[in-house]
């Protein structure tokens, strides 16, 4: 059976980069969602 405990440490970089990537993209989506709300509210008020 394959068992290489050091692989856990070797792959930690993927954990860091992966979580950072998720937070960045979700952050962009949050900003875009606030943006949509802001602009559509303004647009609706103008109507």
């Amino acid at each position: 059976m394959y068992f290489e405990p050091m692989e856990f440490v070797n792959k930690l970089s993927y954990m860091g980069v992966g979580m950072l990537g998720v937070f960045i993209i979700v952050g962009i989506i949050i900003a875009a969602t606030y943006g949509i709300g802001y602009f559509t509210d303004k647009f609706i008020k103008k109507d």
Binding site: M1, Y2, F3, E4, P5, E7, F8, N10, K11, L12, Y14, M15, V17, G18, M19, G21, V22, F23, I24, I25, V26, G27, I28, I29, I30, A32, T33, Y34, I36, G37, T40, D41, F43, I44
Partner: protein
């Protein structure tokens, strides 16, 4: 008369095969199928999927359903499913050195066709996402978009499991595919495992759906272990902000565009999810929306469940690796839940310093994609602690954001390793 007796003998030859060495594993697969059917009917755990998977698992484990055939001049059958043909397929015949291939008969023949038509090319999971998108109301999320950050935090289990799985699986494509069980999202698991060409698509899919069904059992002890009674009693005010129809229509379009730009691997999944949501929110396609939510989702679920069972022949499913995958899947769900709760506690620490209102850290656990079970569990747990603490809108908001974040995490995994 002799011919008739010979024919009669041939009719019962599969039963003779049954007595051969190692075939007891077939009975275990029947038992596994039976357990899945029991959980689906008696315990009502994801019955729409566990029932067809369980039934398919029984049907896939009969003599002659899968055969290994030698492609040499004297074409002959080398083994039947009782002898675990997957171990031979693609290798050379030990008798004549010619290439071996796998042939399917009985239930395996249509399931093989369905597998190629709907799972190998990821069509079924994507079509199912249209139905899921049509079912989701992003209203609670649009009401408070910052909740999405907890959906992101709850993907920690995926990357933690990636590290854990690479300890036991030498091929990184397998470790990465196993980690995506932590997405708590069947279609995403299937798409990622297929795209990465994992050898364990069947086990991964079964683990993903089984643990989604077990969310009510897995999450509460983890949440309780990481929170105090006082934390679980924190109330959160909910101000219903009117979300305009334009916002609801623009949201799926803009999210799809962002996903295609920043996480192209998520383009198909997010695109189909948001397409379903756009049908729901546009207001002029009510009949299509209803069809996507009910007829389409039900039809695909029927085919998806039984087709997944194609990967559940004893030779393919019943080995140490499958048990390991089930264990790693459980780790993924636990760490996902812990990641969400701990991130919510960290958020509260910052809010305390800023003297801003605190959030109930349990909502962090709803960031896993198992929708809507996870959101409901958090709401129920809050009510158990304080019967006036209504967290449903917050927890569902986090839960739907987990749906988006899990697809993004899947896309990143694909980006890393495909």
């Amino acid at each position: 008369m002799n011919d008739l007796l010979i024919k009669l003998g041939e009719l019962f030859s599969p039963i003779a095969d049954f007595a051969k060495d190692g075939n007891w594993k077939m009975l275990i697969m029947w038992a596994i199928g039976g357990v899945l059917i029991y959980l689906a009917i008696k315990k009502q755990m994801e019955p729409t999927l566990l029932l067809p998977i369980g039934f398919g698992a029984i049907l896939m484990n009969f003599p002659g359903v899968v055969k290994v055939v030698c492609l040499g001049e004297t074409s002959h059958v080398l083994s039947t499913s009782f002898l675990f043909p997957e171990e031979y397929a693609g290798k050379l015949c030990p008798e004549c050195g010619a290439l071996l291939t796998t042939e399917y008969s009985g239930i395996a023949e249509p399931l093989h066709e369905l597998y190629n038509a709907g799972i190998a090319n990821e069509l079924f999971p994507l079509l199912l996402f249209i139905g899921i998108g049509a079912m989701i109301d992003f209203g609670p999320l649009l009401n408070n978009p910052k909740l999405m950050i907890f959906g992101a935090a709850a993907q920690f289990g995926i990357f933690f499991t990636l590290c854990m799985a690479s300890v036991f699986f030498p091929e990184i494509k397998d470790a990465a595919s196993i980690s995506i069980i932590g997405a708590a999202d069947g279609p995403t698991s299937i798409v990622v495992a297929n795209k990465l060409g994992s050898n364990y698509v069947g086990a991964i899919t079964v683990a993903a759906y089984s643990y989604m069904a077990l969310v009510p059992i897995i999450q509460p002890p983890v949440i309780k272990a990481l929170t105090t009674k006082n934390e679980r009693r924190i109330r959160m005010s909910y101000t219903q902000r009117s979300v305009s129809k334009t916002t609801k229509i623009l949201f799926p379009i803009i999210i799809s565009v962002i996903a295609c730009i920043f996480a192209p691997g998520a383009g198909s999944l997010i695109g189909f999810l948001m397409f379903g949501n756009l049908i729901r929110e546009c207001g002029v396609l009510d009949s299509l929306s209803e069809t996507a939510q009910k007829v389409l989702a039900n039809l695909i679920t029927i085919f998806l469940g039984i087709t997944i069972a194609f990967n559940m022949s004893a030779g393919q499913f019943l080995n140490g690796d499958t048990l390991l995958i089930m264990g790693l899947g459980l780790v993924a769900f636990i760490v996902d839940t812990a990641g969400g709760v701990l991130f919510a506690k960290l958020y509260n620490l910052v809010m305390k310093l800023l003297k801003k209102p605190l959030i109930n850290p349990m909502i962090g656990a709803a960031g896993i994609s198992a929708f809507p079970m996870s959101g409901r569990i958090v709401h129920k747990m809050a009510l158990e602690e304080d019967n006036q603490n209504f967290l449903l809108m917050h927890s569902i908001g986090v839960n739907v954001s987990g749906q988006i974040a899990s697809v993004i995490a899947g896309a990143l995994i694909l980006g890393f390793f495909s």
